[in-house]
Amino acid sequence: MNHSLLFRALLICVPLAIGGCGQDSGTDTGTSTGNQSNAEGVIVDVSDPNAQFVPVLSYRTGAYAPNGTPVANGFTDYLKLINARDGGINGVKISFEECETGYSTSRSIECYERLKGQGPTGAAVFNPMSTGATFAITEKAPVDKIPLITMGYGRSESRNGGVFPWNFPIYGTYWTAADILITHLGNINGGLNNLKGKKIALVYHDSPFGKEPIPLLEKRASMLGFELLSIPVTHPGVEQKSAWTMIRKEQPDYVLLWGWGVMNSTAIKEATGVRYPRDQMYGIWWAGSEPDVRPAAADAVGYQAISMVSSGQAQVHKDILSYLYDKGLGSGEREGVGEVLYNVAIINAALVVESIRTAQSKYGDKPLTGEEVRWGIENLDITEETIEKLGLTGYMYPLSLSCSDHEGKRAARLHRWNGESWEYSTDWITADDSVIQPMVRSASDTYAKEAGIPTNACDS
């Protein structure tokens, strides 16, 4: 009797729960049965023997969902657009599968293992979308011969292709970002030497992501004579009272915010609480998007962040809207197209697609293996013409990679939140490679020594 009651309760509860969830989840992948006819040729099955498989690690749930969702939408939208508009890369369609990681490293590894062998030739390239996961997958990628593109995150020393042949931190590492921010602070103070005696606080996510910039900032602090105050914030970052109490007490001249997910909007609210001026706060590029500032509303005005790309719509967005969203095939909401993180993901996906295209020029127009795609990434050469062809003029900058430099370019602009949108507030700022290069060298040498791998993969 008891059992049958329980069963009945479950029978009633489970469909209710599913129905309830379906209503508030706004992220329909567009693959529901109603769109099946439209999806023809846009969503390609992973088992298709003529398609190039691209794995997608994403997080649409958990504390990092506000930021993970636009990234996942942008990335998958671009892949779908290539299928819908161009009929694939030189005729080779892209198939992809999303795997939810929740920004957890262990779940990311499980997703990596699950997806690496899918498709006719295995995974083309992984984008871990998490620095913690990048550290873990860096150990596995050389064994499985699958390259990693970690655009704007990951291990900073991994730009040294001689030690890390499989890692590609294209578009800038955290050391580059930190150096650009310090250079900017020097610029507004009339020269780097004027930073002497200043106090700069780093409020960081207590994870490999947040800790990455510390070595560079410490080196810069000792070079320039400013005082560095490192304040960790525990995952997921909703509890920051003590951090901002300390900032009120210490009154640093500048605060660098190295946050992700709900940590960013919380930090801006806390800064308002202790009346720390928002125009003295600078975020990493992952702390400079709409989900970070919108919850803080007007309090966020004046907050600046380094930017890989800002918000706005280029030609490619118009294509995405007409080829996908008008047909009900978009990954997210129409309003989200053109937000900062959406655009970051578009560029990331464009780098993936162009790498595969480059690899095809050597290996032929067919699904390629990870090893072949790796060659394509390393020989990537994005020129102004390519960017125009991609419909990303003004949104992407030219770069070319080489074995010794897997980063491409070390420059970025800052953008400022004006209450409505993000707009660029500075010109291009270039990081000082004479500071970063020796650090990359020594860190990657240490890694090579511990791992027992050669440092001269470029020479062969």
Binding site: C21, S25, V143
Partner: protein, 354 residues
């Protein structure tokens, strides 16, 4: 019918006190060992090894360890994640600071370090009981989280606080392929299960159980609570510490302090509770349940060909997982091990229940 004991006479004390007194149980265990050592390695894919078997085996070791403490000695602990962290970081430090040591010895030394920490943090158990003790062990969890992310010496001054290790090498054999890693973990599990089983049915285990059932009475019949409780903490932490070293070196390969956070402690405790308190096989069943069910739920829609977004799958996974835990605990509060026992009893009479 299948578990018919009729005709199995115990003619000596030795036979009566055997680990598996019933003949059918011996066959059953032999079949499981055969599956583990022969069938699985022949059939499993790389994904199965890396994402399913290896984590389950290591977690089973940790769950057995915690079960010794919680299930047999009745001391509730929320510090298993911390003991695993101590085991992992200690093994790492032994390995990099004394490179000539055999990695397996480093794992055991990692376990011993966890033992030391376990005994120190077990001392409060002499005065604190029940839920209050759980809170005290929670302190250990936060303490280790802080230690390993703040004291750079433990992570060998890596700037990001993330440690990467190479596949271990024992006597010229490099444990890099999934199948080798699987065998390594399986051998560890089998050895530690035998040790655990024999401890709990011996003098020490009886002292633990007496303490669990009524500590005042246990003291009166001559069991020293200090000795019983601290030995339970020591043995349990050793098991969990070794599991932590395996988790870090064999399963993860690269980890950050967050890998051993409070969530890990909770899931090991859930494994013990769902699997069955005070049962060795319960630890294994619980580990399999808690580790595999989310993966199973997560992939089920794809296998069934249902197209729903990954976010939706993830939400459903949490809901169904939670509902199933409540369902299991409502139907059988004594855990999966008890369900297994009932099945055996039913099989004894089946197909003629009268």
């Amino acid at each position: 019918m299948f578990y018919r004991e009729a005709g199995q006479f115990k003619t000596s004390y030795k036979a009566d006190q055997a680990v598996f007194p019933i003949f059918q149980d011996k066959i059953f265990v032999a079949i499981w060992l055969f599956i583990g050592f022969v069938v699985v390695p022949m059939l499993a894919s790389e994904y199965m090894f890396r994402a399913i078997f290896i984590p389950v085996i290591i977690m089973a070791l940790a769950a057995i360890g915690l079960n010794l403490l919680v299930g047999y000695c009745g001391q509730v602990s929320l510090g298993s994640g911390a003991f695993m962290a101590v085991g992992a970081y200690a093994a790492y430090n032994f390995m990099i600071r004394v490179p000539e040591l055999n990695p397996l010895i480093c794992f055991l030394l990692g376990g011993l370090s966890a033992t030391v920490v376990g005994v120190i943090f077990g001392i409060p158990s002499l005065r604190i009981k029940g839920f209050y003790l759980a809170v005290a062990t929670l302190a250990l969890q936060f303490f280790t989280d802080w230690t390993f992310s703040r004291i750079d010496w433990f992570t060998n001054y890596t700037p990001s606080g993330s440690i990467a290790v190479q596949p271990i090498e024992v006597l010229g054999v490099v444990f890099d392929s999934p199948i080798r890693k699987y065998f390594l973990c399986l051998v560890f599990l089998v050895i530690f299960t035998i040790i655990g089983k024999n401890i709990v049915r011996g003098r020490i285990g009886r002292a633990w159980m007496a303490t669990r059932d009524m500590d005042v009475a246990a003291e009166i019949i001559g069991i020293r609570p200090v000795y019983a409780k601290l030995s339970a903490f020591a043995v349990s932490s050793f098991f969990i510490g070794v599991a932590g070293a395996l988790w870090a070196f064999v399963h993860l390969g690269s980890w950050e302090p967050l890998a051993f956070d409070i969530n890990l402690s909770f899931s090991i405790l859930f494994m013990v509770i769902i699997g069955g308190l005070g049962s060795i096989v319960g630890g294994m069943l619980g580990a399999a349940f808690i580790t595999l069910l989310p993966l199973f739920l997560n992939q089920l829609p794809v296998w069934l060909g249902i197209n729903i977004s990954t976010a939706m799958i993830s939400h459903l996974e949490f809901m169904i997982f939670g509902a199933l835990i409540i369902f299991f605990l409502a139907v059988e509060p004594l855990g999966l091990a008890r369900i297994w026992q009932i099945t055996k009893e039913k099989l004894r009479l089946w197909p003629f229940p009268h």
